[in-house]
Each structure stands twice: as structure tokens, then as C-alpha cells.
């Protein structure tokens, strides 16, 4: 090549190389941006874990009768009229409350949860940082305005004398005290005639509207839970990380909605009728045709409903339970997955946690534009979620269905104080979910696609360990430093703890759960109720461990400290003294003994104790199982065998899923070669080099 051509060639080469680098940098920048944008639609599901499945016990005591308690201290008779133009519910009715405590009452407490979305200064909304379940603030504010609350005994309006804001929080109106003009004596009943307007927010925290879809939850003035033992109400302002708490009540609700709406709600529809257009009708109903439904729900502690013209309705039955699924068009596959899941999960939960006592269950799959109202539990009504194509490649539809269904027991029937002890509902529901999906899907409980299997257990166990040392599991929802902590500890660590207990205690744990779910059915258990039963069924030591795990950041990490192997020393030398002095050179006695000795140091870090199995491996691959009660912080296990000790594995069946680090559970004298990962890495690198090249 000539000099000028050489120069041109060099220039082209340099320029080409520069452009290659520039292209790669640009590509990398675009990639970064795209990943960044895609980050906020995680929709994390509470996910399960791993344990021994406890088979049904035919000799177990009969399930409690599928009967409701004979009385409820509260009842609501409500009329609700939905004004679709204003996204507003106009309500009135009567609340009846009986003082079942031992002391006279001089005040009532009401939760006006919708006021959490009233403005930017409420306890729910004022934090500039994302927190809580629904995330962020509503695009359209919502509120609950009570215009009348009058005592039927005196006819006086009590609302005028109410406190204007939540206790100690002048910006918040979700927790309102209403003084009584006349004392309510023990055993006495008060009727409260109420009128209110619920302006629905754009969907936030699973409540509100999106276009012509409405999910109407926490929409009426709701009496706080009354504690008869202390003769006072358990009330609280609505915190973004918390949920709800209320008495079991009877609801008798008349819903008045646009005639084209398909309605789903807590309880059972008693009657429905279409109301033709009426030109004389006063606003806000206008003269459009309406639909009126009379719904009753007995012995439930909340009432939610939804209305959307787009719902496709499917009815079915599982045992004696009528199933109604409302879902958007095009979600037929999700419907089938939901029904498949329900057919397994409903009988499964009934078998383990007692009969489902209500005649019906409604499942609502919100439309895509209202997906933030999905994944929530209400009595006899649950919301699921997922895109129309979700069930093609994950099991998230199944997982959310099972989780919310589990809440019908751990929230619905065992109506614990969610804001005070969130682990009792979310944690126990997560445990029930994990157990169910493991039985239903095995190792592919999170998803199976193109031959890849992922179990929800793997994720749950990992998440449970993430914040184990930060804060206790058993504490109020508002006290968690972040919702990530709450999610990890309340959902996953509780479930993992229960799973570990189940693996360790087997049938005793099964009995504990049966006893807990039977004794506190239609009741409001607190942690001490569960602890008392745990002591009874699992013993004092196990109960103490549970307490440490829940209240004291209890943790455990089993590890192999060391593995040593040596040949048995030959017995030789001078033995005895005096006349009996003897020189031993013959090792025949020694030959009868195993030639190889070994010693394994087992460690138990942390303050929880569990018994564990230990597998000792010789260099021929033979396995010898030992047992350690795990009570000490460390111990040695000795080995004698014909072949040298190769290594040891503590908790080989991974029963202690609460174990903080599984990787240190095994130790071997010779390193295992990682040819599989090398092979896979090489192949992936080859493909990338081939595909990314110019």
C-alpha cells in the first residue's frame, strides 16, 4: 500500500474504532434509561416458602360447625347512592351499637378512613416519600364528610360536638371522637342515624375510582373496635403502612348504582331491581336508569363493594360455597387460573384452618387501568390482579388469589388488630399461602416457563433474612422504618418462622394451628393468645423461642465450624509399669477398630434454638446421619469409619428455613469443582460475544 493509502487506512481504522466505542457508550446509556423507567411496576407479591406438608389427619377433631355467632355488638343499615358523574357516594342509615363492656361509655370513636386522602397534610399523605401499600398520593382527592350523626335515644345530633381531628394530629381527620350527650350504660344499645357523603379519590390504597370503575372501600363512618374488657375503643389514625380493625357486625346495605353497572360486594344480594329512568328524579341521580341491590352480610367486620359496567361475570360453586368472579374482558385465562387455584385452596384452607362460614365468596379482578385496587382482602370479597397475559408466564395470579383467600381466615375470621399486630394477619396469611402453593405447585410455585422453575419459597426465605437484625417482627405497622422492612418481616419472616416450626414440630404444630384457628374464630386474637397455645402445644422452650423470634429480633444461623479427618493412631509403645511394663508393637487389636476418625464442629449462632440433623460424608460418598438438639452454641460430632471423613452438612433437608445463611451449612475438606456454572457462563458469554459483535 502507498504511504497516502496507509495514512488513510490508519485514519479510517482509528475513526472506526472511535465510532465503535461511541456506539457502545450510547447503547449502554439507552439501556440504563430504559431499565430505569421500567422500575416502578413491580407489584410485589407476598410470596411463600418451603416446608414439610402435613397430611390431613382423619382422626382430628371435627371442624367447628359452619355457623355464625349468634350476636354482633354492632350493626349497620346503610343506603348508598353512587353518583357516577361526581364519583361520590351519598349515604345514610343507622348504626346500632351495644355497650358490651362493664363500664358506662361517654364517647364513641369513629374511623373516617377516606379522609386519609383528603389533602396533602394527612397522616397518610404528608410524607414526601413513598410508603405504604398503595403508594403515593391520589391524583384526585377524596374525603368522607359526615353531615349528621344523631342519637336515636334523644334525637340530638352528636356530630356537632365531635373532635375536629385525630388525637394529637390537627391535620388528620381519620380518627374522630364523638362525645355522647347521654351515658351509654353497660348492656345498653344506642342507635345512630347517620348521613354522609363519600367523595371517592382516584384509586389509592385499593380504594376509589378509575374512569367508570369504582372500588368503594372504607366509605362510611365506621365505629372503632370496642374492647369490652377495657371498656374502651381501640382507635387510631390511618397510617400509610397500616390497615384496619373493627368489630364483627351485621350489615344491611342498599346500593343504588347506574343501571349498567355490574356490582360485587361483601355479603349476599337479597334482592335487586332495575329502576327505569325517571324525569322527576332529583339530582344527584338524574333521570338515568338505576339499579338497586339489597345486600346483607352477617358477622363481618367490613363492607366493600365495586361497580363497573365492563365486568364479565362468572359463577361457580366449590362445595357449599357459591363463587362469583368479576373480571375484565379478555381475562379468560386468568379466570381459569383463578378457579383452578380456588378449587384447591378453599378446601385446603378449610381442612387446615376450619370451615369457611359464609355462603358465598366474590373475587374481583380489576381492569388494567384500576390495577392499584387489586390484591386486597375484605370479608367474603377479595381482589386479585394481573395483566391479561400474566398467567402465561408467572403464577402471580394464583399467588395473589391464594394469599387473599387465606385472609378470609387470618383477618376475616381471626380478626386481629391489623395496625397493632400486622404479623398476625399478613404473616399468618403468608404462611398459609406458602403451604398451599407448595402443595399445589411444588418447586415452581412462583413460575415455570421454558423449563425454568422458581419457587416463591426461595424469594420468601431470602426476603425474611434481609432485615432480620433491624427491628422486631411483632410491632405496630406504623413503627416499621419502611414498608420494605414491614414486607420482609411481617409477611416473610413470620411465614418463615411458622414454616420452620412446622418442619421441626410436625403434627404438634398442625394441632397448634388448628387450636388457634378454632379458638379464635370470630374473635380478635392478639400475640399472647397465640403464645399461650404455642406453650401448650409445643412446650415452654419452643414458646420462648417463638417469643424471641417475634419480639426480640431472634435469629439463628447454623454453620459447620470445621471438619477434621485423621487416621486412627496406632497403639504402640510401652504400657504399664514395673513387672507389668509391656511393649506393644502388635496392632491387631487396633485393626479391629475403624481406621478413620473425624470430628466436626457444629455452630449455632443467634439466640434461637432448634434441633437439627447433621449428615457426615465419607470420601466414598457414604452418608451418616446424626442429630443435634441445637441447645448449645457449639458442639462436636465425632466420626469413626473405614473411609476418611470428607465433609459435613448441617440441616441437610433445610428444615430450619429461618436459618440466616444456608451457604455455611456445609463444609468439605476437598473443594467441589464448579464445572456446571463454568460451562453455563461460557456458553452465555459465547452467545453474547456473537450477538453483540458488529
Amino acid at each position: 500500500m502507498s504511504r497516502s493509502r496507509l495514512q488513510r487506512a490508519s485514519l479510517e481504522l482509528a475513526l472506526g474504532a472511535s465510532l465503535l466505542v461511541a456506539a457502545l457508550v450510547l447503547l449502554s446509556a439507552f439501556k440504563t434509561n430504559s431499565f430505569g423507567r421500567a422500575g416502578d411496576d413491580s407489584g410485589s407479591q407476598p410470596a411463600p416458602s418451603h416446608a414439610l406438608a402435613v397430611p390431613p389427619d382423619p382422626a382430628a377433631p371435627a371442624e367447628p360447625a359452619n355457623a355464625l355467632p349468634t350476636s354482633a355488638p354492632v350493626s349497620y343499615q346503610l343506603n348508598a347512592r353512587l353518583d357516577a358523574d361526581e364519583q361520590t357516594v351519598f349515604g345514610d342509615g343507622r348504626i346500632v351499637f351495644t355497650n358490651v363492656g362493664a363500664k358506662p361509655l361517654r364517647e364513641l370513636w369513629f374511623h373516617l378512613y377516606l379522609n386519609a386522602f383528603k389533602n396533602s397534610e394527612t397522616l397518610f399523605a404528608r410524607s414526601p416519600f413513598s410508603s405504604g401499600r398503595g403508594g403515593g398520593k391520589p391524583d384526585v382527592w377524596g374525603y368522607l364528610e359526615v353531615t349528621q350523626l344523631s342519637d336515636t335515644r334523644t334525637g340530638e345530633d352528636l356530630w356537632a360536638g365531635r373532635d375536629l381531628h385525630s388525637p394529637g394530629d390537627p391535620q388528620d381527620e381519620t380518627d374522630i371522637r364523638v362525645p355522647l350527650n347521654q351515658v351509654l350504660s353497660p348492656g345498653e344499645t344506642i342507635g345512630l342515624d347517620v348521613q354522609f357523603t363519600s367523595k371517592l379519590p382516584a384509586i389509592v390504597e385499593r380504594t376509589g375510582f378509575s374512569r367508570d370503575y369504582y372500588f368503594v372501600a372504607q366509605w362510611f363512618p365506621k365505629l372503632a373496635k370496642f374492647d369490652p374488657e377495657q371498656s374502651r375503643f381501640k382507635h387510631f389514625a390511618f397510617h400509610p403502612q397500616a390497615e384496619f380493625y373493627a368489630d364483627f357486625a351485621d350489615y344491611d346495605v342498599h346500593l343504588d348504582v347506574p343501571s349498567e353497572s355490574v356490582v360485587g360486594s361483601t355479603g349476599q344480594v337479597v334482592s335487586r331491581n332495575e329502576v327505569p329512568p325517571n324525569a322527576d328524579q332529583e339530582p344527584p341521580l338524574g333521570n338515568a336508569a338505576r339499579k338497586r341491590l339489597h345486600v346483607q352480610a352477617r358477622r363481618v367486620h367490613d363492607f366493600a363493594w365495586t361497580a363497573w359496567p365492563g365486568f364479565v361475570e362468572h359463577t361457580d360453586s366449590i362445595g357449599d360455597t357459591q363463587i362469583r368472579v368479576l373480571y375484565p374482558p379478555g381475562h379468560e385465562r386468568n379466570l381459569q387460573r383463578t378457579l383452578f387455584t380456588l378449587r384447591f385452596a378453599l378446601p385446603h384452607f378449610e381442612q387446615h384452618y376450619g370451615a369457611y362460614p359464609y355462603p358465598n365468596l366474590t373475587l374481583v379482578h380489576p381492569p388494567h387501568h384500576a390495577r392499584n385496587s387489586g390484591g386486597m382482602e375484605y370479608p367474603t370479597l377479595i381482589t386479585t390482579g394481573g395483566n391479561w397475559h400474566t398467567s402465561l408466564y408467572t403464577r402471580s395470579v394464583e399467588l395473589v388469589t391464594i394469599h387473599e383467600l387465606a385472609h378470609q381466615w387470618f383477618y376475616g375470621l381471626l380478626a386481629s388488630n391489623e395496625p397493632r399486630w400486622p404479623f398476625l394477619d399478613e404473616g399468618f396469611a403468608s404462611f398459609a399461602e406458602a403451604k398451599a402453593v407448595r402443595e399445589l405447585f411444588g418447586t415452581s410455585s412462583a413460575g415455570k416457563a421454558l423449563g425454568l422453575e422458581l419457587s416463591a419459597e426461595s424469594y420468601r426465605r431470602s426476603s425474611a433474612a434481609q432485615y432480620a437484625h433491624d427491628v422486631p417482627v411483632a410491632q405496630p405497622a406504623a413503627d416499621f422504618p419502611s414498608f420494605a422492612h414491614l414486607g420482609s418481616l411481617v409477611y416473610n419472616r413470620t411465614a418463615t418462622l411458622l414454616e420452620t416450626l412446622e418442619n421441626v414440630h410436625g403434627e404438634q404444630f398442625e394441632q397448634l394451628m388448628r387450636a388457634y384457628t378454632q379458638r379464635y374464630r370470630f374473635a380478635h386474637p392478639d400475640p399472647e393468645d397465640f403464645m399461650a397455645l404455642a406453650k401448650q402445644h409445643l412446650g415452654n422452650d419452643a414458646a420462648a423461642d417463638i417469643r424471641r423470634a417475634l419480639f426480640e429480633r431472634g435469629w439463628v444461623d447454623f454453620a459447620i465450624g470445621s471438619v477434621q479427618s485423621a487416621e486412627r493412631p496406632t497403639r504402640a509403645g510401652m504400657f504399664g509399669s514395673g513387672n507389668e511394663l509391656e511393649q506393644v508393637v502388635d496392632a491387631s487389636e487396633h485393626d479391629a477398630l475403624p481406621r478413620q476418625l473425624g470430628r466436626v464442629l457444629l455452630l449455632r449462632r443467634g439466640n434461637l434454638t432448634f434441633p437439627v440433623d447433621v449428615d457426615l460424608y465419607d470420601d466414598q460418598g457414604n452418608v451418616f446421619r446424626k442429630h443435634w438438639d441445637g441447645s448449645e452454641e457449639f458442639t462436636f460430632i465425632d466420626y469413626e469409619g473405614e473411609h476418611p471423613l470428607a465433609g459435613a452438612v448441617i440441616d441437610p433437608d433445610v428444615k430450619i428455613t429461618l436459618d440466616q445463611d444456608l451457604l455455611n451449612n456445609s463444609s468439605f475438606l476437598e473443594r467441589r469443582a464448579g464445572w456446571r456454572s463454568w460451562e453455563r457462563s461460557s456458553y452465555i458469554s459465547q452467545l453474547l460475544i456473537h450477538l453483540l459483535g458488529p
Binding site: R8, L13, S681
Partner: protein
């Protein structure tokens, strides 16, 4: 046979075959090298597990997730190192690709000077001659592809926001899928231009801009047939890894038995060889296209009748450009029967550079 001549030029001479094999082996070696940080990390971190890294492949992913949680930082560093090596090697294989393309060019395939040393020297000289424009061309195209990808992401992102909730859920998904496919089209076209231009560069010994212009003109004349042919070969290439995926899944390397690992290894390497082979076939097709067109032009010149480019179907296009003289053409044998493919743009070809 025509298809052998078209798709397997890389087997028609010993040099070309050697280069092709070298190209494959080079990528195998680079892949193993790039995987070293990650492979070593996994190997080290799982060395104390009872069944070593076999546990990482167990169904459910318990051990894999645990390893990522506990040793995520170490694995992250290893993975970044591997990725850096992958990117470096992906660029570094450019000269090898250039050699592959040159080895398939007409002179190298058809002229076989003796002795062997002279043949090698000829190949080396052509390679050195082509490397600069080849590199510049590759850089340009990669830059354009990066820009096109950026535009794609911006457009799809904006569209996604604009149509959110404007349709029902399914329609929205299909609209986005269609838009994404549409935006991917420039990527396909740019890749085709790159390969055609690089082949032209090697075939005629011409510069960056001329070869790019030539490739562009050809693409404009037959956009659909070229795209479909390229896409067909890409899909054919992907069949290998797809089959290997299922073989590897069935082999279930988490179970005991070293044969499982061997089976997986063989399946993966065959799949990769298949992928490389299909790529070579496409490059061979590009080279053959230029060779046929060149011979067509020579034949036309010998007959003294400047042949008009014939039209074929809907792809046929505009009138030919005047010939571009880049370098002096060497004497060469003339093929008696031009292939149908050679009818494309024969009059627009440059004179072949001296070999």
C-alpha cells in the same frame, strides 16, 4: 450446486474453511475467557456445598437465590468483569470477522495461486487492505444502530405513555408490540447494509462510503427479499440455542451423573457452532451476491451490450447508477452463466481492485 456455491463459500477453499473454523474457535475461546471471572466466582462460592454448584440448578432456585443474596456483591463484581470482557471481545473479534469476509471474496475463493505461501500472502494482503474501511464501516453502522435503538426506546416509551388506557388492555399490548416490531426494522436493515457493505468492501477492495452506498442501493432495490432472507437465517440460527435449551433442561445437571454435564456441554457447543455456521452462510450469500453481480457486469462488458438491470417483482426498483471506478480491475475469468441474483444492479458495480 447453486445453494452450496451461494451459502457455503467458506467451504470452497482450504483458506476460507480454515478461517471459518478459526473464527468459530476464536469465539469459543473468547467466550471461555470472558466467563472466567463469573465461572471462578461461582466455583469458589459453591465449593463447600455438598453437591457443589449442582445445587444451583435445582428446581425452585433455593440455593441460587441464597447465593445471590449472601454473595451478591462478589457475584456482581464478577458479572461486571465478565460483561466488560464480553463487550471488549465482541469488538476485538472485528479483525477476525474481516478475515472471514475477505476469505469468502471472489478472488480468494476462485483464484488459487500456488504455492500455498502465496495464497496466504494474498489473503493477508487483502485483509490488511480491507481492515480500515471495514472497521470504519462497522463503527458507523454500530453507531447508527445505537441511535436507532435509542429512538426505538424513546418512541415506544412515548407511545406507551400516550396510549395508556386509550384502548382496552389487549389492544394496547398489541399496538405496543406492533410499534416495537416496526421500530426494530431499522435495526434489521442496518445489519443487512453492514453485511452487504462489508462484503462489497472485501469483494471489490473499495472504500467505506462506496461500499455503504452500494449496499444501500441494493437494499433499496430489494428490501423485502433481503430482509426476509436475513430474518429467515436469523431464525434458523436461533433454532440451535433453542434446541440446546431443551436438551440442557432435560439433562438436568442438578442430578448426579457427569454425563449430564457432558451432554449439556455438547448441546451448547453444537448450538453455538450452528449459530456461527448460519452467520457464515449469510456472509457467504452476501459475498456470492457481489461475485455474481460482478461477473454479470463483466459478461455484459464482453458482449458489448450494457445490460439494463432487470426488474423482479415488487422489489425491483430504480434505474441503475453509473459505474463507480474505484480501482483498476484485474484480469479475471468470466463466468459463463450468471445467476438470477446477479441481475441486481450489475451496472452499478465498481471495478474490482487489484488482488
Amino acid at each position: 450446486m447453486s445453494w452450496r456455491r451461494t451459502y457455503f463459500r467458506w467451504t470452497r477453499s482450504g483458506s476460507a474453511l480454515s478461517v471459518a473454523l478459526g473464527f468459530w474457535l476464536l469465539q469459543v475461546a473468547l467466550g471461555a475467557l470472558a466467563a472466567a471471572p463469573t465461572g471462578l466466582a461461582f466455583s469458589r462460592l459453591t465449593a463447600q456445598l455438598a453437591r457443589g454448584d449442582a445445587q444451583l440448578f435445582e428446581g425452585g432456585g433455593l440455593w441460587l437465590v441464597e447465593l445471590l443474596r449472601v454473595q451478591g456483591d462478589a457475584l456482581g463484581v464478577a458479572a461486571r468483569s465478565s460483561l466488560l470482557l464480553v463487550l471488549t471481545f465482541a469488538l476485538a473479534k472485528l479483525p477476525a470477522l474481516c478475515l472471514v469476509v475477505v476469505s469468502m471474496s471472489g478472488d480468494v475463493v476462485t483464484q488459487r495461486p500456488e504455492p500455498r505461501e502465496q495464497r496466504r500472502f494474498q489473503l493477508l494482503r487483502r485483509w490488511l487492505q480491507c481492515l480500515p474501511p471495514f472497521t470504519l464501516l462497522s463503527g458507523l453502522i454500530l453507531l447508527l444502530r445505537a441511535i436507532a435503538l435509542g429512538v426505538l426506546l424513546l418512541v415506544v416509551g412515548a407511545l406507551s405513555g400516550a396510549i395508556e388506557y386509550a384502548f382496552d388492555e389487549q389492544t394496547e399490548s398489541w399496538v405496543l408490540l406492533f410499534a416495537t416490531s416496526l421500530c426494530l426494522l431499522p435495526q434489521v436493515l442496518l445489519q443487512i447494509i453492514a453485511d452487504l457493505a462489508r462484503s462489497a468492501c472485501a469483494e471489490f477492495g473499495i472504500g467505506t462510503w462506496t461500499s455503504a452506498r452500494l449496499a444501500l442501493e441494493h437494499l433499496v432495490r430489494r428490501p423485502w427479499s433481503l430482509s426476509i432472507r436475513w430474518l429467515g437465517l436469523v431464525l434458523l440460527g436461533l433454532l440451535g440455542p433453542l434446541l440446546a435449551f431443551f436438551v440442557a433442561d432435560a439433562a438436568s445437571v442438578s442430578e448426579p451423573g457427569s454425563w449430564r454435564l457432558w451432554l449439556t456441554f455438547v448441546a451448547h457447543q453444537l448450538a453455538f457452532a450452528w449459530l456461527v455456521g448460519v452467520r457464515l452462510c449469510w456472509l457467504s450469500w452476501c459475498a456470492q451476491r457481489w461475485a455474481d453481480a460482478d461477473k454479470e457486469q463483466q459478461l455484459a462488458a464482453q458482449l458489448g451490450t450494457a445490460r439494463e438491470p432487470e426488474t423482479s417483482g415488487t422489489d425491483a426498483g430504480s434505474s441503475p447508477e453509473p459505474p463507480v471506478d474505484i480501482a483498476e480491475r484485474s484480469a479475471e475469468q468470466v463466468a459463463p452463466t450468471p445467476s438470477p441474483d446477479a441481475q441486481l444492479g450489475a451496472s452499478a458495480l465498481p471495478r474490482k481492485a487489484s488482488a
